[in-house]
Symmetry: C2
């Protein structure tokens, strides 16, 4: 096998209350990467999308992730990579993570599956550092492991894959720009202990709900008293979207990653569709361009596409 | 049925990282309450132990819990209660919660099981308010529900019973006094967001470990970067007990409730016994009186004792 094509899911980091520790992979939108193994070193990158991303390996999130992988591989090989992005950069849907994770998963398959999934997360974290300045892993991990993942600790890296009951995910991406670095900047560095207690009650509730297939508990736990009240200010219409989505039957939801995308979880497909309607109406009225997705949890993360 | 006798488990609140939200019931030590239903109103209380606790209903934690229950019952009945405490007040093992929980569970059985477990927690919280000034429920809830419990939210009360794999619990109670109010007073009201993130990673890890029967994950998650570093100062020998217990094979552990008792979890009975040895040696050398228990998780909480 000298060439491989993979499909890479978008990811919803934080999942409302699990700031910096929880993430979930979804089926749609997704990126694609085609990777060819070459016997001379060096990485060439081609983008087939219109996002005008850098193609020099050292400046490309997928590129630096492959460089990190090759440093540990230590044999003189190289890659030719073609990236097709559908996950818009800056959407809050793990666009940079998708590029980084897809590249290293594909490379590992071409090299005979010699690295563990944890290794691949470590390599791809270099892409996140390039993209946002922080080596975070809450998008990369669900992207590579699938379903929902918990990062108990980042140094040392301790990943806990979590099961989840079948759920539908409605996403709206209002086409405004929120920089991850800005969204991080406006957070308070000191918080009240009493707020933290409320937050970790919800996190424990969400994890319990996911593992016990308790939809009601998942819904009640999707509450964020710390991050959302601050970050949602950057997203026009957020409160209204949330309120009306819940009225339409959503279990709950909130900001995807650092925004501006908003996600909502539902038990039934019909509810997820009704929520899409609500979102479309609201952003239509506001005159803000938007894109919606009705999708489900990606159980396997990055997967090989058969041609 | 006019009279009933119940056995009430000690409880370990917080479980290291789960400050104010997690608690676990253990088989030993335990209290006993004998309760008789009378057809004239009023509550009389007798203590068969030497702790010199108040016997006036309004000043007794079990008494005020029964008063709260009777307010909702609204028929003119009364109780004669005999309390035998083995869980020493101020031990950090849920002594006041045991009195409060035992009384209301026994009363509910005598009245024909008309209240839910959540109701009983609410009644017993009045006892905790009397004891510590705070209506907390992290000891009462595992006492009534058994096993490990999560309090996702206290207002409104949202209780999540959690399963746990078989584990042994070693407890040492150094006979020094730590007042709950003091132990709460010394905590900082503002904390760093980055510490909170580490804490909720551990809480999510602990809940996952319990529900997935993953002993290693439970062990790695029993880490507290916020409360333990402050409170452990009040407990002589704490660091040494923890270090040497882990060397002896403990999965992990820490302060029980607000202390001074220390608990350690183990997978094997032999390890739990070895840890008891370690604890005894350390407090023996320090010349501090102590009491140890080697026990296991109480699966059912308060239970009826057959005479």
């Amino acid at each position: 096998m000298e060439s491989i094509k993979v499909r890479i899911p978008a990811t919803v980091a934080n999942m409302v209350c699990g700031f910096d520790i929880l993430g979930m992979a979804v089926e749609n939108p997704y990126d694609e990467i085609e990777l060819r193994l070459t016997d001379k070193s060096g990485i060439t990158i081609k983008h087939t999308d219109d996002y005008n991303l850098p193609t020099e390996a050292e400046k490309n999130v997928a590129g630096v992730s492959l460089i990190a992988l090759l440093e540990e591989y230590s044999k003189p090989v190289g890659f030719e990579m073609t990236i097709t992005k559908n996950i818009k950069p800056g959407s809050g849907l793990g666009s940079s993570a998708a590029s980084a994770a897809g590249a290293v998963v594909a490379a590992n398959l071409l090299l005979g599956n010699i690295f563990s999934k944890e290794d691949l997360v470590r390599f791809a974290m270099n892409g996140e550092r390039l993209a946002s300045g922080v080596k975070h892993a809450d998008n990369i991990t669900p992207c590579i492991f699938g379903s929902v993942t918990l990062i108990r600790s980042i140094f040392p890296l301790d990943i806990v894959p979590l099961s989840a009951p079948p759920m539908f995910v409605t996403i709206v991406h209002p086409q405004i720009e929120v920089k991850t670095s800005d969204a991080r900047q406006i957070l308070r560095k000191e918080i009240q202990l009493k707020d933290a207690i409320q937050q970790w009650g919800n996190i424990a509730g969400l994890v319990s709900g996911l593992l016990k297939n308790d939809y009601e508990l998942i819904g009640r736990s999707l509450e964020d008293v710390l991050i959302e009240p601050v970050r949602s200010i950057l997203i026009p219409g957020f409160d209204e979207v949330k309120k009306r989505s819940k009225e339409a039957g959503a279990l709950g939801g909130g900001i995807s990653g650092s925004g501006p995308s908003i996600f909502m979880l539902s038990k039934e497909a019909a509810t997820a569709k009704a929520i899409e309607q609500v979102m479309s109406e609201l952003y239509g009225k506001m005159g803000i361009e938007y894109k919606t997705y009705v999708t489900s949890i990606s159980r396997n993360g990055v997967c090989v596409v058969n041609n």
